[in-house]
């Protein structure tokens, strides 16, 4: 199947280095300390953050830094076929672990000892790149909750089909069997915190694909900063400042 046409257009009409449309909203879940909805094309994800609060399970309390918990689940209606087991399966467990460790790297946990920060991420619509969308949503939600962070974490995926590096794969391109590289970076520190890849790829091509994904992450970072700035302006306005 041809994923990149001869004049360089992908299945959904994008160029190889073009990302899908980004949309973000903050503060959707009123009960949570922080929440955000993040959309990357057709992939829609909602994140809610509770914390820092008292540790619910005293045996898990850590004396010198905060405990970060994360739960990733997909809604039954998020994919084409209704999913029967949204939580608890191995993929969800692994992605929960991945998101938790990614966010833990950027949260200043030593400022909040003996407390707990919960991040709940739910996929409402899945069209490829759910992992990245979840991390971006979690970043926004954490910022909304006012949790101190080292830097914002942004994530994007890239692939390699028809000998072309492609940015931000959707579900069709992802299930084509080609390599899928998901990168999460701390943009200001210029560090890679999340890196996952599957399927075979030679080293030099991998470097190009990873570089493309990092560019995508930086573009998302600009967008997230705009959204946060706009949100802060709204808050100031409402408080009459």
């Amino acid at each position: 199947m041809e994923y990149v046409s001869h004049d360089g257009l992908r299945i959904d009409g994008r160029r190889p280095t073009e990302m899908r449309q980004l949309r973000a909203q903050i503060g959707n879940v009123s009960k949570a300390d922080g929440s955000a909805v993040f959309e990357m094309g057709n992939t829609k994800v909602i994140a809610a953050v509770y914390g820092p609060r008292e540790v619910q399970n005293k045996s898990q309390q850590i004396s010198d830094h905060a405990l970060v918990r994360c739960e990733y689940s997909m809604a039954n209606f998020s994919t084409g076929d209704r999913m029967r087991k949204p939580k608890g399966d191995r993929r969800s467990t692994e992605i929960s672990l991945v998101i938790r460790q990614t966010m833990e790297a950027c949260i200043l946990t030593h400022l909040m000892p003996r407390s707990q920060i919960d991040i709940f991420v739910q996929v409402l619509q899945a069209d490829g790149g759910t992992r990245s969308a979840c991390i971006n949503a979690a970043t926004l939600a954490l910022a909304d909750a006012g949790i101190p962070m080292r830097d914002i974490v942004t994530s994007c995926s890239a692939g390699y089909l028809n000998s072309t590096p492609l940015l931000d794969l959707n579900y069709t391109e992802d299930s084509a069997g080609g390599p899928d590289v998901t990168v999460g970076i701390l943009p200001k520190l210029d560090q890679v915190t999340l890196l996952q890849m599957d399927a075979k790829l030679p080293v030099d091509i991998f470097e190009n694909v990873m570089q493309l994904a990092i560019e995508g992450c930086k573009a998302i970072e600009n967008y997230i900063r705009e959204v946060l700035l706009e949100n802060t302006k709204q808050l100031e306005y409402r408080r009459g400042l």
Partner: protein, 451 residues
Amino acid sequence: MDSRLANSWRLTVNEKNFIKTALQSEIRIDGRKPYEYRKISIKFGRDDGSSEVQLGQTRVMGIVTTQLVQPYRDRPNEGTLSIFTEFSPMADPSFEPGRPGESAVELGRIVDRGLRESRAIDTESLCVLAGKLVWAIRIDLHILDNGGNLVDASNIAALSALLTFRRPECSLGGEDGQQVIVHPPEVKEPLPLTVHHLPIAITFGFFNDESISVIDPTHNEEAVMSGRMTATVNANGDICAIQKAGGEGVTQRVIMQCLQLAIAKATGITKQIKEAVEVYNTERSLRKIKRHPTSVGTIVQGGQTQTSGKEGVSESPGNHIERLKQLSGETCTSQSSEERKTTSTDGNAKNLIRGPTTWDPYSKGVGPELLKTSLASQGTSMPNEKQDLRNEKKPGEAEVEGHHPEDANPGSSAINESLTGLQTKKERTLEDAVKPKSKRKKKASSKTGAS
């Protein structure tokens, strides 16, 4: 409780600081250099498809089993591969029995990604009936001792088990040709899996000071390190999978350096795995040739060439396997096991392979051995023949010494010829089987003349 946390609780602050300080001078607490791997030892069990890998103090056991199942709907002509991990509580105080924890799931998925997505195992060859029946390969990884770096050890265990695994051969049969008959290993030699390449997992550990990274962390170092990355690469320079699940951020440059290092290490480990599997295959094929301890000196078919006492010398194991497979392929009946036992009591398989070029069928008595096999398959009386051949042993023995050095060289190259030759000869002797015994005695006498 999170095993990660439990791990870090076991170490005191002083120990952690000691490890970090030592690393700043590029010394690790077990004496290794930062980019040095621990010693890997790979052992195999009696059954095909079971391996035990020891990486320093880490021990992992891998077992491969298979079952006929229905394929997935979206992949009707491919077999399936699934990996199950068991973090046995005896391996580490923080492992809990019951459902696999996060790290168990992560480990399973890393090994799975390395094998499945990179197409290391050819799943299409596992298809029996498209859309109905395929082989499902199941890899069970049991962690026996956690000395750090479980991912790498598990990956090596899985690969070794897959390379030594043999799946039963099956064929279509029945009235409508749609029934699948699975042949037990005694009837038909089981087949190995098609493995295209070996994806090796190499784990790096990053510490708070960004410039420090180590390869193959021990569990003390794992408690101290702040980030890890597992790169699954193969010896061809392809990256099969990468898993860096958060943790300490590192620059792109460090990542590329780690990948280059991983590729360099992977070639060494691939070689080691292949050597271990080769040794196992040799042992396995030697085991298949069941030796009677008494018949080492006495040869049953003296009329044949180079049989007696030469079983100590072994040709390359590949010949054995080929020969045995040929034998089993030709006579795929339940009697073949009997035949194999009798023909191979004194390593005849080897001798048949070595036979070819200097073997003159007319003067050296092609009859006896092949006669015996054909008679065996027909179920006629063997003992009489054996007695006859024992009488011919002495003349046969004298020839052996002479023939052996010649045949050692052409033996391996002429395997195919000999096998096909044997087949045709076999066909001939099936007819010859009814020839009177006088002919055999004539050959014996001609041999005595020759010696």
